[in-house]
């Protein structure tokens, strides 16, 4: 049986090396780099918030742990 291959589709498949986009709990479709970007945004935001409002009562190390955990969660499930 002759196997037909659409040359355009085959070429697209070979050249399309863009990262896979998917939908997680974030409101948009993302690839791993988008999620890493969002993770870094939130890491910085959390650190600044902690320094401003919480550092007097809870040490910044707790924030580091939470922020890294959040970053990993976003890259993994976001």
């Amino acid at each position: 049986m002759e196997h037909h291959v659409d040359p355009d589709t085959a070429e697209d498949r070979q050249t399309d090396q863009r990262p896979v986009r998917r939908t997680g709990f974030l409101p948009i479709r993302t690839n791993w780099f988008d999620r890493l970007f969002v993770g870094i945004y939130l890491f910085v935001a959390l650190e600044l918030f902690w320094m401003r409002f919480l550092e007097q009562s809870i040490p910044l190390t707790v924030c580091h742990v939470l922020a890294i955990a959040l970053g990993v969660l976003i890259v993994w499930r976001g």
């Binding site: 970007f37 650190e47 320094m51 550092e55 910044l60």
Partner: protein, 293 residues
């Protein structure tokens, strides 16, 4: 040679320039941001001080105020420029006498250096010699003095920015409008759609990428504005127009506090990226959702 290798070789000069002039300075600024460094102070050596510069800036009232004023400035300037730019682009789509001349004159502010724009507006708004206070006094009895009136000073910086950068928005949106196909508009007219429906359901979705790109460019520019405002108001009266770029300048140059200035610069870059990303999500997410349905 594989096409991938050729591609990387062709990109190599751009990547090298980006690395030398973009990434390396950024890494250096990031490095300085974690140090205390005042080369003209009592202790000129660069010493590591952890996150203390960032700890200092979240409590710095002047910095927080400058961020708030800058965001307010960027919002009013960019929104006005997009609306005015779109209306002017629509005007230039029509035939009228002197259209070519008007289009040329309209784009002239773009080729004027920001520092010159600031100087010209300073001359035009200086009480007793400026044309604007004179006309406002003669026609409306309003006494304009941007050295005293904080609201007027803020408004004038916004108007100056609109005057300077609306032509850029007009040109971008005009290019987008000229590239649109005619068929959807003709079909909509045959189906009885009114002008508002055509604008909202056809024109706006089709030029959305151009609007998005223009908003990003203008937002980033507005958030780092320095020279125009420096010439017009020098950040005053008080801190009414002390935008964050001016604030950084005052920390780095007169005070020579390089470490703290670098920390503020990093946070401003961070805020700019966050705002652009949020804007991107707000504009792109609904379309993705609609496509998924």
């Amino acid at each position: 040679m594989r096409s991938n290798t050729v591609g990387w070789l062709m990109l190599a000069p751009t990547i090298a320039i980006l690395a030398v002039f973009g990434i390396a300075p950024f890494i250096y600024v990031l490095y300085v941001a974690f140090h205390h460094w005042n080369p003209f102070g009592a202790d000129p050596l660069m010493t590591y001080n952890g996150a203390n510069n960032f700890r200092r800036l979240v409590f710095d009232r002047e910095f927080l105020l400058s961020i708030a004023v800058t965001i307010k400035f960027a919002f009013f300037a960019v929104v006005s420029e997009i609306i005015l730019g779109y209306l002017l682009a629509q005007l230039f789509m029509r035939e009228f006498p002197g259209r070519g001349l008007f289009r040329t004159v309209h784009t002239l502010p773009l080729i004027v250096a920001p520092i010159v724009v600031g100087s010209v507006w300073r001359l035009m708004t200086t009480p007793s010699i400026g044309i604007i206070p004179y006309l406002l006094k003669t026609w409306f009895g309003y006494d304009l003095n941007i050295g005293r009136d904080a609201g007027a000073a803020f408004l004038l910086t916004v108007i100056m920015d609109i005057w300077h950068w609306t032509p850029l928005v007009t040109l971008t949106l005009l290019a987008a409008l000229l590239s649109l196909p005619k068929e959807p508009f003709e079909q909509a007219q045959i189906d009885g759609a009114n002008r508002w429906q055509i604008f909202w359901h056809i024109t706006l979705p089709m030029i959305r990428p151009a609007i998005l790109a223009t908003v990003f460019i203008r937002l980033m520019d507005a958030l780092r504005t320095v020279d125009e405002v420096w010439m017009l108001t020098s950040g005053g009266p008080g801190a009414a127009t002390r935008y964050v770029g001016l604030h950084i300048w005052k920390i780095v140059f007169p005070k020579t506090d390089y470490g703290y200035g670098a920390a503020i610069s990093v946070i401003v870059l961070y805020l700019t990226l966050v705002m652009c990303w949020l804007l991107y999500v707000a504009l792109v997410a609904p379309r993705q959702k609609k496509e998924a349905e």
